[in-house]
Amino acid sequence: MSADRHARLRELLAERLDAPLPAREAADLEAHLAACPACRVVERDYTAQHEQLRVLSAIDPPRDLWARTRVAIDHEVTREGRRPFPAPTLELDRQGAHRQLRVAIGSLVGVLVVLLLVGGPLAQGPLPEVASATPFAIPPQQLAFLDVADGQLTLYRADVAEVCPAPGISCAAGPPSRPVVRLGSGVAARQLALGGGGQLFIAGRDSLGGEVFAIVALPVAPSPEPTLSPTMGPDGSAPPSTPTEPTPTATEPVVEPSGDPTATPTARPTDGADETPGTGSDAPSIIPPPTPGQPATAEAHPILSGMRGTGAPAAWSPDGTILALSAMPADGSAGSDVYTWRPGDEQAVPLTSDHHSTFASWAGDRIVVSRVAAADDANADAAVLTATTVVIDPTSGEERAVELADAWLPSVDPTRHWVVYWQGRLEAQAEAVLPSGGRLLIAGWSAIDPWAADDAAAAAAAVPSASPSGVPGSSPGDQPVASDAPPPAPEPTASVAPEPTPGDAGGADERPAPAGSPSGSPSASGSPDASLALDQARAVSGSTSDWVVRWSTTGTAYGIWTRVEREETGGTLIVRSVPSAMNPEGEVLVAPTPAQRSFAVGADRVVWVTPLPGGDGELWVASWGELGNGSLRLRTLDSAEALPAF
């Protein structure tokens, strides 16, 4: 047999895997196989690889693929000079070259066409959703978001009770979101924080560019005969004990841009622990329900003036009674200090006075503060700073140092088990502290909490009366403080990953340091290192410029928003579970997705704004849990600057 014929029969072996051979060729092949042992080996190989190929598993796309694609397509639409969602009408009887195509496509997307024809023109509205996956229920939880409606800052409420399983695709219309409180105009809000006592903290900029820090007292329940909002006396004072209610009238509410406070926002008594925002998906929400007719109006009361914000976003204490934030004089005449505000305070009260302190987070009912000092090395760049961490009791003012070397803005989880912090190079610029090249790390907090021993002793003292069995209580540093504590995780240590290595291109050997790395941390000897470099690649490039860390209320998950360049609009949000024995790196609960800086994390969900071309935005919710992961597009926003909160 010639070599050509032999090769041709080999080809037939391959071809017959795809389609039956003509009878003659099939017979020739069988005859050849009977006489050619080597060819039978090839036949077995082909058959085996055919089977192996067919059982290769599919590779699931990332959850955010549709969100990214949608944004990119919308960008195309915008580039074409159209609105992102032009009126999706079809004209089936139109004459022209595309008629046949259009009708045929109608069969391809029949459901869609029916929707369009029945629904009619939907100019400027969101694209109708195509029937796809079935949404599944999740524990209902309210969320709020601040958006601009009719030129006024407006607080909306939405009740989220279902999400869609298909990643990135909305299979159901988002729940209706209703305006509940109008706050007036004149301020571009940048931060939003809901307090447990019915207070809303807003930070933003007024029309002149000055920063505004204000408190808004929210209505807790609709009142058929609402009382007036706190009135201002002739001398500009307000009765501190006057119950605050929004004014559901047509009076134009105004967010005071700046200046001395003219009224004292008064606390609505906390109705108990259940009023704490986000303590559980079934907890009562402090977000006021919508009222019939026009939304209620409320006034904003400035609590700081002539200042600009520093550090982490302002945050309420876990019981929602104390707001903590940091700020520095807007003229740069001094550095940053930490402030607190309690119901009844006219102004935020400084907690520190060293002008080097920046609010980082709450650790239980105490405040974690980052403090900077110029580098000791006289030969070093004078602008280079070193950072230390202290935890301050806001009631007594006592502060204790944390042995966490070179950590900046440590964010402690609500159960005080974990801390996420930035480590890298800090620079001073006109009294402001600017991170310049670093990375985010997660580590254990329990072992380095300077108040842990006190809390453990207090808990132990309290146990005999509370626990007839005499079982000693655990330290808050050892056990989560919340009742809905996370499942047992390996006890985290306080080890810190090694210093970043600028210029290192990053490789497989860039693993977190072993325990006892020379970073000055009190690592438990022999313990596995719980630190984890989260964005080492960015640290290597030195381009991480801005980030926000927010914890779930259970302390089991955290969201990190980062932005690479200062000029970049938007950034990237990712949500992870905390490290566990089964998954030392933590599970990615929400894959990286484009997001604005402001986002919020609840017990089992995250809400964020995806920026769209043209300045619009989309409000998204993603959830995780035993029922699986899901997401839902709540609505299209007029502004990508909307601020969500739980």
Binding site: E11, A14, D18, A19, D45, Y46, Q49, L53, R54, L56, S57, A58, I59, D60, L65, T69, A72, I73, E76, V77, E80, F85, P86, P88, T89, R94, G96, H98, A104, I105, L108, V109, L112, L127, V130, S132, I169, R439, G506, G507, A508, E510, R511, P512, A533, L534, D535, Q536, A537, V540, I560, T562, T572, I574, N583, E585, E587, V588, A591, P592
Partner: protein, 204 residues
């Protein structure tokens, strides 16, 4: 006035066309994004890059919607776009490689998803697939894993039906030889592992 009316009418038609294009591409995404992504991930062996190119595929589909003449072949049309996008990228990535941040640094530990993905990609079959010429790999993936018919595969690859069958035949033989090489390497590694003496207790 008439000219202006015609112009406005044309603009309105175009708006409707683009709205249709967007709606259909959204539906195509819902139907085929998973398989397109899976195809790209195996072609490129990079999950993040595959996600980028899957996105690019659907953007291109929107952009080139008018070129979809037969809706019944929309799937093959999508694969054609994806295949061209992948081959373009494979040519380009020999010069520069873009790795977007995924929350996992290249130096840090991999996520569970990454471990699973790379576990799949690390098998002999995956390595053998990666070793054969890109066009042959495309033909095998389309025919075996994505169940495209001969005509669909030809359309996706942008070649004639006869050429597509010939390409697939060559691909099978290339894969057979590549698999043999991979298995030989695996056997060598196993042999080396077996031959390596156990470390002494003191060395542990």
């Amino acid at each position: 006035m008439l000219a202006r009316s015609v112009a406005l009418r044309g603009q309105a038609d175009m708006t409707r066309d683009r709205a249709t294009a967007r709606a259909v591409v959204e539906e195509l995404f819902r139907l085929h994004a998973g398989e397109i992504y899976s195809y790209l991930a195996r072609m490129l062996r990079d999950d993040e890059l595959a996600a980028d190119l899957a996105q690019e595929t659907f953007v291109k589909a929107y952009r080139a919607f008018d070129s979809l003449e037969e809706p019944a072949r929309a799937r093959a049309w999508l694969y054609q776009i994806a295949n061209r996008t992948a081959l373009d990228e494979l040519r380009r990535r020999k010069i520069v490689r873009f790795v977007p941040w995924t929350g996992e640094s290249r130096g840090s530990a991999r996520s569970a998803e990454e471990i699973a993905l790379h576990g799949r990609l690390s098998g002999e079959m995956e390595r053998a697939l990666a070793a054969i010429p890109e066009r042959q790999r495309a033909a095998l993936l389309l025919a075996e894993l994505h169940d495209l018919t001969g005509l669909e595969m030809a359309a996706a690859l942008g070649i004639s039906h006869v050429a597509a069958r010939a390409l697939l035949t060559r691909a099978r033989e290339s894969l057979r030889q590549a698999l043999a090489v991979e298995r030989a390497r695996s056997a060598e590694r196993d042999a080396a592992r077996t031959a390596r003496p156990e470390p002494a207790e003191d060395d542990r």
